[in-house]
Symmetry: D3
Subunit: 127 residues, 6 copies
């Protein structure tokens, strides 16, 4: 199995509901450094998994919808905690859709969000 | 599949038995930067894999049993080489037990120990 | 010249005033990974620059005043842009005061805030 | 499953054929920081996956065939784009052969090439 | 003293003249991850050292002149070894000129090029 | 001012004397990832600060005297705490001597030891 990973980041505000979150119930923020991975069982006719330029542009387009936002104000996230792992899932699903990944022969996608030097979360799915 | 990873470290002394280890047969030491990963097929009712605060505290508790120790003196490791990969397995198993991971809905655990900028080792198991 | 650096982080929300900031004028957030450096021309009687445990605790205490906060709501920052470099200066000055750094023989302090994998800012002062 | 990863690097020149590659069609170059991972279901009699010294030497031997080369001039790569993912596959296959990995009880190999702070590619195979 | 650092990278081919360089006398290549640092004794009226967006754009413009090139073919580098430290100096000087750094109140510039996980080089100058 | 930095590491055991060190008074260990920096006001006739191959070999030679050792048993460190900052000074001084740095036109040397992802220490001296 081959894979290619590209990196970008976003800077958002948000808060969490639930006592388990302690001080993170207050409005705070995070830089999420985002790694998007594309998997393919065999290389394509250009000897790549996916064009890195294309992958980078589509990742930027997906992140631009969230970047420099207060996630608490986005209607699509009403009633949900925008945890790092939840956001990894959202970004992965949106990437799959934008890239029309299955049609391009991509066999799997994974997204990892690094929220600090001490914690990260991921979501991966096969296509 | 979702996952969350938290990081901590420990600083231990130890030595290895076996000519294959060369100078590492002498008493020496290592900083192990430890990444503990928890996997879950679906998010829980708080929209997370596991509470990061809880995961961090339990990882600290597991590492505290080894931190600032000479592993050669711990009876539980008598007759074994405390290689990086062996320690990854020990830490993963202890984390699973302390967290009662299966009961919490955790589907898998992985532990990676970075021993330098050039080498790391991991152990992963499904639950 | 000797130095010791310890690392911690904070997660804050804030916004900027001024057209130069573009989308960062909206309420957003950041993880700041913070490196605090203490310099000393000669080592002390314990052969160190400063006790790492003490330095780590005082850095945590300084960051705790800002962590998980919306900086726009803190009266001490009214009328100022809480840029990464500005915050580096604030944290450095507070560390010097809390540690009573000059009395401890510290000759200089530097603070670096990493706001992403692409940008960081610092402030340093001699004592 | 246990694993061990060792790191080395190589510095090569090459160019790509195909309009999708844009300016990378020109002769340029890259530092590839290479992580080679070896997997084993159980530890061997020395309590390791593979001797790290041996793994490091064999990885160096494989990279030495490519290091400080213009890949466009190597006959073995005629007619192919030496993309990061393609090279990961080449290095993995050569490592498996040199190490006689299956005979050593290795159950899987993965190779990751970091081409910058923003992009990396991998190839993994079971044995 | 305040500072801000922004990061970008370039991928170039080149070769060195002189027996001291060993195999690096052959045409090879490198990814240079480039950190550009701007220093200022006091913050400006926006409470920053320099607009990060501007700094990032100008660094990109400077690197674009070298990116995806064979440096051996650039007339400006005829008769010189394009070592990592030499390139750091070139990039720093070009940045100072493009940004008209002195006029903007910048008091110093430093440029670091990371050529691998094992080596880097820098050039710094006061203005 | 130009500089070049090369990286290596060592894995040692040691203990500290003094209540301030808490659990680090027990025999434990550390991986020290070591960055050695050489500074020069102008480049030499090969357009470099120092040959990276030479710098790397000399750093290895200096570290080999300490690597895989219990520092508590080395007579040269009797009666001193082998703190990270103290070791940075020892390594810098030994490097200056081995390289005959002043005679080579080196204007300054700095050594940084990373003891974990959270702490590092440095020593620098002009020549």
């Amino acid at each position: 199995m081959y894979s290619v990973t590209v990196r970008d980041h976003m800077m958002v505000a948000h808060s969490f509901r639930g006592e388990v979150f302690g001080p993170a119930q207050r409005l705070h923020g995070a830089t999420f450094v985002v790694d998007a991975t594309f998997r393919r069982r065999a290389l394509d006719e250009d000897d790549v998994v996916v064009d890195i330029g294309l992958a980078t542009r589509e990742l930027r387009a997906v992140l631009a919808e969230l970047d420099y936002r207060n996630l608490d104000e986005l209607p699509e996230f009403a009633g949900v905690n925008t945890s790092t792992e939840f956001l990894a899932g959202v970004i992965a699903d949106r990437l799959v859709e934008r890239l029309d990944a299955r049609a391009r022969g991509i066999d799997g996608v994974a997204v990892t969000l690094h929220e600090s030097h001490l914690a990260q979360a991921s979501y991966e799915r096969e296509l």
